[in-house]
Amino acid sequence: MTISGRLKAGLAACTVLVLVIVYVPLALVVLNSFNVSKSFAWPPSGLTLRWWNAAGHSTGARHALLVSVEVGLLATAIALVLGTMAAMALQRAHFFGRNAVSLLIILPIALPGIVTGLALNNAFTTIFGLSLGFFTIVVAHATFCIVTVFNNVQARLRRMSSSLEEASADLGARPSTTFWLVTYPLLRSALLAGGLLSFALSFDEIIVTTFTAGGHEQTLPIWIFQNLFRPNQTPVVNVVAATLIVLSAVPIWIAQRLSETDVVGAG
């Protein structure tokens, strides 16, 4: 292709600039977790491990982390089941209202989180008479996580030929046997990718969570938000934030591994 050298250089410069803008604030958080100044005065006058030590002893943060992981796992499990069912139903049949169903599945993330949060809060407390807590957070998270699994599974099914499943049925396998022996192995990496995305979505969510958590349950994002404005706590919040930034490389690594095994599996 004929792209002039000057244009290429310009585009490369833009790319570098965007990446710098993206990474400088994150680097600042990591650096500030070692900043001796409690108000993160810039440039730092010295470095310390005090805040990391303090964060390690913060029971509030540890408990919130545990809640977040539990909620994420449960919501993802529900989303995996419901999302796969919806994707398979929509893939194998064309019927009136098919578009309406896919729109319905996108809706919980297409609508602003505050709307979903308020609607679920109102439904939980006034219609179902539930008190807000762990259970309601899981239900709310599962609602907006379904779409990630649905999208991944649907994309995989679209690329899959139905001939393998038809062969299995012709050979006399029951639908459940066909699913576990033929469909599921083909879907596995799509399920992993969708599940990973779903967990990340749940782990990070704060707006819907605020409306469905009630006063007693705290996920990690809620803990961070509540301690953010307390000057005494900010160094610890900063350490938690720095940890999360470093940890965000993990799902990327898993996703890369997944796409590699995918290539091998297809070859």
Binding site: L90, G113, L120, T143, I206, L244
Partner: protein, 277 residues
């Protein structure tokens, strides 16, 4: 490949039933109940719900200048954030898809994806540090502080990967031969961009804008972290529910972003953007 669409069988119905019960009955029901509550009021003295149909909430939303201003400000911020992200996403997506070597492209995709996995709250918090009076930006003498400008920067930063990824996918689908044909026919780079690249990635841009728009309109957390005194739609809804205990008014105001988003989705359906999500 099956040649003829099959009619829905009992298996489809069984598969569809649980997700439909969850989303179609529970979630849509919850949205419906919220919509209904928008037409109620609360008793000013007791704070109890008054379940009598009235349009008072909507009348106040449209007539009180403070809410009109906040709605327009929120829409303005959403448009601005979307434009900033589109302008930043186009060159980097083009570079990734059409200039970078396959190896560099892989690295760039990872570099762009990585902050997407970093926590939303952590990223908003990172900008609180960047914009603070003792932070690096004010050390450089360019900090806008906490307020509307800081908010637009932070929101554009937060949603940028949501714009880059669909635009990059759109650029990848654009055949090189089209770009070659355009330059062979003597078009300068700018004309090729305007008449070949832009029209073909337009659905992808729209797909990205669905995220940037919807996310901006519902946000109130980043507003509290970096927005200073700025009031956005989300804050009014959250405060009416949480502080003022006025669910009906919060519900009525929450209808505004829903109507905007549904209208937007309805318009962009024709561009094929929904397939690019």
């Amino acid at each position: 490949m099956s040649t003829r669409p099959r009619p829905p069988g009992p298996r489809t119905g069984l598969l569809l039933l649980p997700p439909l019960l969850w989303l179609g009955v529970a979630y849509l029901g919850a949205l419906g109940a919220l919509f209904l509550a928008a037409f109620w009021t609360t008793n000013e003295f007791t704070g109890d719900l008054v379940r009598v149909f009235t349009l008072d909430n909507f009348r106040e939303l449209l007539q009180a200048s403070v809410y009109r201003t906040i709605t327009l400000r929120t829409l303005g911020v959403a448009v601005l954030v979307t434009l900033v992200d589109a302008v930043l996403a186009l060159p980097i997506a083009f570079f990734m898809a059409k200039v970078a070597s396959p190896r560099l492209r892989r690295l760039l995709v990872i570099a762009v994806l990585m902050p997407l996995w970093a926590s939303y709250l952590v990223k908003a918090y990172a900008w609180r540090g960047m914009l603070s009076t003792s932070g690096p930006l004010s050390w450089l003498g360019i900090s806008p502080g906490y307020g509307l400008t800081g908010l637009v920067i932070t929101l554009a930063y937060l949603w940028l990967p949501y714009m880059i990824l669909p635009v990059f996918a759109g650029m990848e689908k654009l055949p090189d031969s089209l770009l070659e044909a355009s330059s062979d026919l003597g078009a300068p780079a700018r004309a090729t961009f305007r008449r070949v690249v832009l029209p073909s990635v337009f659905p992808a841009l729209v797909a990205g804008s669905i995220f940037t728009f919807s996310l901006t309109m519902g946000d109130y957390i980043a507003v509290k972290i970096v927005g200073g005194p700025t009031q956005m739609l989300g804050n009014v809804v959250a405060d009416n529910y949480g502080v003022a205990n006025n669910l009906p008014f919060a519900a009525a105001y929450a209808v505004v972003p829903v109507v905007v988003m549904l209208g937007y989705l309805g318009i962009v359906r024709r561009t094929g953007a929904l397939e690019n999500l």
